[in-house]
Subunit: 311 residues, 6 copies
Amino acid sequence: MPHRIVFATQHYQYLKDRILSLCGDQCENGKLEIRDFPDGEHYHRILSNVGNKEVVLIGGTIDDQETLELYDLASGAIQLGALSLTIVIPFFGYSTMERAVKYGEIVKAKTRAVLFSSLPNTSRGNRIVMIDLHVDGITWYFESGIRPMHLYAKDFVKEAALEMAAGRPFVLASTDAGRAKWVESLANDLHVPAAFVFKRRISGDETAITAISADVKDKIVIIYDDMIRTGGSLIHAAESYRDAGAAEICVITTHGIFAGNGFQKIKNSGIIKRIICTDTHPNALLIKDDMLQVKSVAQLIVDALALETFS
Amino acid sequence: MPHRIVFATQHYQYLKDRILSLCGDQCENGKLEIRDFPDGEHYHRILSNVGNKEVVLIGGTIDDQETLELYDLASGAIQLGALSLTIVIPFFGYSTMERAVKYGEIVKAKTRAVLFSSLPNTSRGNRIVMIDLHVDGITWYFESGIRPMHLYAKDFVKEAALEMAAGRPFVLASTDAGRAKWVESLANDLHVPAAFVFKRRISGDETAITAISADVKDKIVIIYDDMIRTGGSLIHAAESYRDAGAAEICVITTHGIFAGNGFQKIKNSGIIKRIICTDTHPNALLIKDDMLQVKSVAQLIVDALALETFS
Amino acid sequence: MPHRIVFATQHYQYLKDRILSLCGDQCENGKLEIRDFPDGEHYHRILSNVGNKEVVLIGGTIDDQETLELYDLASGAIQLGALSLTIVIPFFGYSTMERAVKYGEIVKAKTRAVLFSSLPNTSRGNRIVMIDLHVDGITWYFESGIRPMHLYAKDFVKEAALEMAAGRPFVLASTDAGRAKWVESLANDLHVPAAFVFKRRISGDETAITAISADVKDKIVIIYDDMIRTGGSLIHAAESYRDAGAAEICVITTHGIFAGNGFQKIKNSGIIKRIICTDTHPNALLIKDDMLQVKSVAQLIVDALALETFS
Amino acid sequence: MPHRIVFATQHYQYLKDRILSLCGDQCENGKLEIRDFPDGEHYHRILSNVGNKEVVLIGGTIDDQETLELYDLASGAIQLGALSLTIVIPFFGYSTMERAVKYGEIVKAKTRAVLFSSLPNTSRGNRIVMIDLHVDGITWYFESGIRPMHLYAKDFVKEAALEMAAGRPFVLASTDAGRAKWVESLANDLHVPAAFVFKRRISGDETAITAISADVKDKIVIIYDDMIRTGGSLIHAAESYRDAGAAEICVITTHGIFAGNGFQKIKNSGIIKRIICTDTHPNALLIKDDMLQVKSVAQLIVDALALETFS
Amino acid sequence: MPHRIVFATQHYQYLKDRILSLCGDQCENGKLEIRDFPDGEHYHRILSNVGNKEVVLIGGTIDDQETLELYDLASGAIQLGALSLTIVIPFFGYSTMERAVKYGEIVKAKTRAVLFSSLPNTSRGNRIVMIDLHVDGITWYFESGIRPMHLYAKDFVKEAALEMAAGRPFVLASTDAGRAKWVESLANDLHVPAAFVFKRRISGDETAITAISADVKDKIVIIYDDMIRTGGSLIHAAESYRDAGAAEICVITTHGIFAGNGFQKIKNSGIIKRIICTDTHPNALLIKDDMLQVKSVAQLIVDALALETFS
Amino acid sequence: MPHRIVFATQHYQYLKDRILSLCGDQCENGKLEIRDFPDGEHYHRILSNVGNKEVVLIGGTIDDQETLELYDLASGAIQLGALSLTIVIPFFGYSTMERAVKYGEIVKAKTRAVLFSSLPNTSRGNRIVMIDLHVDGITWYFESGIRPMHLYAKDFVKEAALEMAAGRPFVLASTDAGRAKWVESLANDLHVPAAFVFKRRISGDETAITAISADVKDKIVIIYDDMIRTGGSLIHAAESYRDAGAAEICVITTHGIFAGNGFQKIKNSGIIKRIICTDTHPNALLIKDDMLQVKSVAQLIVDALALETFS
């Protein structure tokens, strides 16, 4: 069996450590030397031998530096003779810029997919592993020479919901119409009702939310959204559910970005009791607050890597 | 200005004729010789000179023969020195097989996108024009060397809705959660309420529909769906709206496929009063019934071809 | 040694079974789920795990549906992580449309070769195996990234000839000038005389056949042609040999297509005593008649797959 | 209209001059600086400005130096911004190594086609023009991104035959079974009988020729072959026709290579009265002998370049 | 003549303005909408119509954000139908990481060249224009489908040298052995002596500089280096020339990066009297000090764009 | 472990033999059949089975025939199913034509790199191994899909220098400014002084050499240059060192080409006492003279092949 070696970009070392601790002897800890120069250039050196090894490279496209670090490390591993390359992108940045609404808008989700698809192939081929993409189709934005794999953290959501509900009846709720289908599906799996929020435009950019389903009254409402960025639309939705009589509002999200003071804003709103997210984005680890619980996707990734194939 | 010449596959000659009649002298009518051999092979010959011309090729991926005819004619035009190639696919088949739900499912929307992306480039590049895709993201399933363009028949939907409503108040309704976002957006544009249908799984494959929004009672409900195939889910949704007290139910769809006896089944249900669809699929033209009105997308396509660029 | 798994398109299941029965435990029987939708779309799912296996996919380009089924299954196997992909095309359709005689004719043999060449590569590369191509050069119509292999069923022809002759002297004969070289070579291998048919154009499309070599008189004439489609030119040639005094006329062909009522037409002509063909085309298996004997190419394919290399 | 500029490799300057003299003001004479270094390296510089011009580059793959000179000049023109590139290869070397007969034989016709197909594309695309290929299919050995064009010098053959016959009846004859089809077609066009030569293997490499058709007796036999290399098989065939009673034997060939002392050998045999060939190979121009007449293909090439398209 | 439109990344707007002011009516000012989101994502929209226009895009690879902005804007222009794309990279970052000295070092100059080479081609092709690359060969690190052009700012250096010398005799000097060839060439063009600095390693990383050529004594020494980053090696070299008796030391550099407090460090050293650099890097414009004079490369770029070809 | 098999072009059989003798049983001796035809075409056949083997192919781009032989053999090995392909080019011809100085010069180092990069990939990828390139950057002229490796024969140079010095103090010297950096580095490694030669242009092409560093007086000067072609610039440099008082002048070079009567010219000059070179170019082996010592790079290549990776 070929040797597997795991590397991560600078911000994802924590996830590499968690993955390695689950792998036991089966994975080697990939060593890098990274230095920054005063002129803004970065020096990257792969210290471990990667020749004829299965290289796993973990990194999110969370900002420009991480994106290019991921691209450069991947290029290096390929050049140094990696047998295969699996790029694990726990959080795929720009997944909300996945289509052009106005003329000239640059569809970043496509340009990033093309960027990683342009890497030369390793002997055993290149693969991309992503988790809970904002839009399913992004899986196929990648060019045909690379094999993408989309992991669903459905089990995480279900477990988090059951943990939050703690035996009490609850409603699974969406933040907007875009996620209606997914929440419908999750609610059906959990055998609970689904609640939805729709918006009606009043004038210009002003919208009024219409919380659908009268059945949130006096019930626990668990909102699921794939990501929380600034928390704005989450608070907006939560207010609707509160106004509709929800007894308690909890939140589950896969990607806890909490950009800027996003987390504090949510906390200050006082509407949401508790949040559970995963560790797909390094920001989530920076917040130390009882209101937020972070669960790791390390096992989900380890299980996917164990497969010899992709669905 | 380069000369433009328009060809169509066998089933789309009607659309070519409509487009040519709108173009006046600006487009040449492309001639083909097509013959079928007893062994199932087809002979294709491009009779018109296409060298240094802008070639427009119209054809749907409505079945295997049309798909390969489109591929072969495109290959021929490229080989014969076409200056540019624009493939207009009014109905993009397999757009509902746009992701794999189970291991091993072949994502046909991707394989078809890859198929057309593999055509060698013409001097001015190859473009693909599609209309009201079931899933937006399919636009970006094409490889980066070809330029896809997604046309929205929004104006058709709005005009059809206003024509059906004839001044009376109405609700714009969806058939399932998957189109919730789109219907929300259309309803906001029309300044009318939106109604949605959600399904709760009862056991196994059995689902109960929950028509949301009490406001359909005694109102005209105009259901919009991007395509009608066998009509099954449409009838199911319409029943819900009827049960919720809708005064009258009309239907707008972009792609009228009406596979098998689909149209007759809808008509026999007696729930739907009227249907308006476009001519993106040749099946719609075969139905001669007062209940169905077919409007052409020819002008929409002509306008898109007039652009020098794609958004 | 990597695991080998064999799949076939719907019409070639019989050949897969024959190949598997020759392989013993060395090959796995690949399972598929195939369903047809009322709107003409087909659902394909690869049920067996193909990750890191050597995938063999059997299918002829006998019609449009089979061609796209082959393309889709190949795409699926690649996406699911097949280690290598060998596409066995026992009968390569369109092999007579291998050049353009008039302006604008689409060279289907090239477009089909390009179609399969556009498949993304597996780790160990993609290969195409074909048998007795109408024109040798088609082997190299494939693009340079795929490895084609042309199998010659010469042994089948020789054995069939010796079986038909049953010890009696015979002449090996061609149907037209295009196969002169091949028949010359076969006749030399068998140490028998070769007979040839040439055509002289009389006026327009009317041609008069000139059976060369007086030595067919009172002899057994065994005509070899690579394929029998409608049987027209075969009957034409046979008549010439009969008129030249042949004692008995038998026919060997690799590809027995017998399009339409081709076989019945040949039988009704009463000139040909016996035909031996292979099972490269599923049509041959549908004919149950003592006059026709079908021999399998399964062993020829199994032997080729056993090679680690291609010539 | 874009500006056209014509270059040639060192051995094909004569053909460039002939083409330019037919073009008048429509083509610019492309200037090169070529120097050889003592270590076997060659210096190539394109002196004329080729930016945004239609570049025509003439050169045969007659030996290794010419082949790489063609490749290098083409690379240079592309890099310098040529609008389009048409490579005219009057004689395509290695066209008889177009398939592998034994394991491991390198199919040079394919490797050369791949070599030229690997050139990056110009804006208007790259084209290859070839004349009377030994095997038609080589046209499609080129990869799909380049557009090959195969010119047939049929008119040259017909005119040469009529000129040689000078009103007397004649037979058009082949040198071996491989060209049977082509000679059959030419003979039909000329409304004359066709004669063919077949070989029977006696033992090992020894073959006995069987001149078919008794009708060469006392007639003028005009042998057509696509190329004369050493003249061996031509003399062999001519002897057969002489033995069969031919009154006079003349020869037409497209490519007069006359390798080594080929021409002298033919002349010394005393069997052949006269030869007409074209100037596709520079060797033909080196022979000054009344027995050989060389006609230029310049007009054929000029006509092809005038087309905006390729069949 | 096609329409030309010029865009720049955020940091290079000043250079776009200078170029546009030199172009007059011949170039359109390309408009962009750029916004930054709190989560580190950037929104880019091309507001101007670029369809069928010659797009010029100016931006340096000065840091990760600029690099990806350049990549995204280029992707957008291609997708929107630009006729041609010329990317002007006045300062090509990572040009000193142009080879690997130790195992595993990532050759960023190559990965950046590959990154831009992976952009899909426009109709008229993509070009890259760079200025005074640290290593000439980087021009050819780009893949063969894109056309690179390397501009030499030799005239700027010569004029700056003559301006600094103001009629007084001077010596042109290098900072290290790596630029010896270039300085030799420049000195020869200016008909002045060349001075060189070489380093001898004393122990470990400690090096002693050996200023060669005794002829700097009492002379004006003008040091040329392609870039000044932190100024460290420049000061080191200047000290050597001072110690060797130079009367006055001035500096010319193409790329004035002055990372960190680089400029202040040079100024504080008190050894260098005056510096002239170009505006290829935006940092140079931020320094307001009489000691530094910045000359624009705008005209050099405008002249290059006017060429229809690349050398 | 996969089987390794070694082939060489005709001129490099000696190096294959040396490599095989160092490999013991680990490498198979690859057999070829090569024949030349009278018309200048070459027949190549790979006799050994290469399927699923690691193919090593040795050949220099020393002239056109060798270059195409290398290309054809590589193409053949790929087509026949080689598992991996490593092309060892001990002397990379055209490495001094690595940039264009004047408009229109064809950068052969790039066109050759592109030529070999265009070979289709083997399963384990294609690699190029080169030794002491004239310009480092050529390593990255290859396209991104192939993995280049640049071997430095530094140990050879050091050992040769120590052997020549035989304990006596010496100076390591360069022939021109272009190699200054490399000689500086080597001298530092050897803890000896470095001497450099610079040229000042007097008028037109006439240059005067300025031997720098007074310390060559009465010392042994060992000149290192990467290649000796005609020996002209070497003799020129040596004269300078002699004039500067050198006690003895020896020469080390990696690539001993000695084009034309190069070696004799050097010998006749009487200035140089001794030369040591490697066997990267077959010319070096043809010279039998006590003044020249040839050391093999076989071990250097064997060591590189033993690595599973490339730096």
